[in-house]
Symmetry: C2
Subunit: 248 residues, 2 copies
Amino acid sequence: MSYVGSFQFTVEPFQDDASGRLSWFFLGNHILRVANWHAVSHGFGYEHTQSQSHTWVLSRLVVEMDEMPRTGETYVIKTWVSRVYRQFTDRMFSIESPDGKVYGSVSSIWALIDVNTRQPADLEKLPNGGFAYAIVDTPSTIAPLRRVRMTSEEVALTVPTLFSDLDINGHLNSIRYIQHALNVFPPERHAKQAVRRMEIAYCLETLYGEDLALYVQENDANDYSIDMKKNGDTVVAKVRVTFNPQAL
Amino acid sequence: MSYVGSFQFTVEPFQDDASGRLSWFFLGNHILRVANWHAVSHGFGYEHTQSQSHTWVLSRLVVEMDEMPRTGETYVIKTWVSRVYRQFTDRMFSIESPDGKVYGSVSSIWALIDVNTRQPADLEKLPNGGFAYAIVDTPSTIAPLRRVRMTSEEVALTVPTLFSDLDINGHLNSIRYIQHALNVFPPERHAKQAVRRMEIAYCLETLYGEDLALYVQENDANDYSIDMKKNGDTVVAKVRVTFNPQAL
């Protein structure tokens, strides 16, 4: 039996963006859905953890897309758990065409949080070994997050947090941070070059009414660091966006 | 053969909102997807019309939900074309549980626009009768749009139009108007009462960089008219939101 889940999608109208390709929102949303489907099939999905007053919280996300599938194209998202260590687990994804061409890869780090105490569970000490049996120990093809010193003191964009931005826990939903980061750039930039890599370190929750100030720093011509802050100086997310130098 | 399309969904994690029920975004997105699936199956979906330089444009949308399905619940969206008249066609939807309980109903009006001239096609004069053969002439269970005089001169909310808000045509996507209308109200209001009815008259396209000013008028304790304007006084959408008077 394989512990790699494999789920097929087609890029449909209303799941694409102005480029005529899968939007980052739906890519991100499908990644979260697929993670849950895979976890459910192995007994550690949201419905299982919620019954034990725990919920999965995304801590780090790195997405690298060599190419986004176009509207009408079929793609497969493969996912597996690659590691369990202390309070964290790594989940990997590969986005491929049905005949095996790789569109891109994703790595993610998750914690299992007690909804009452907000404390993370020790994932190495779950009853009966937890889900360690499902680990597929493959070398990652995706570079880890890279630390960059943020020196920008100018706010490039301020975004409010409104009702439609909230997830079931009443927090700014994980994928909305990706949209905020994309929105730093005008459509003309997105039309010229595709975003190739998106890194997000989720640091703190954002609640209704908390405006986010986006500080943007150009690391080089195609690489940007974006710090998202609330209440003046509290960092809620550190994002890095890298465009493909090659024109679309 | 039945010309009613029927498509089953389950409310998944990441498709719900803070109430633990299907979000208006995903309800709206699925309505558009289902409309396209049904149209494709009868030869008039996006891929067919695009090859003829035409695209479907949503002109009116009325959604009435007696209840939103909860996370984990399965629901069916049925859809059919109920009328073709001059430049317009009416499409109806019924949202039901698998055993036939009605969650809600939707009526919509569409035009088929020439992407070059922006002129609507005469849908009664399409080659070979167009898709008139697929009409299912059922009486509508949903009240039509109701005109209300807007007298409010105060802007309740201003929203920018950013990259992630754009559809494949570079216009503010139809469902984002629904989110804007919901965002006039704080989460506490949404937690207390569900939105029962949402009416939208789409008047003009909204482009990148065009801020929308939302003028809100309370018609009665649970009923609000919302005009969305760009460039000072140009109405792009007229929305009406009605909450269920009964508490959640």
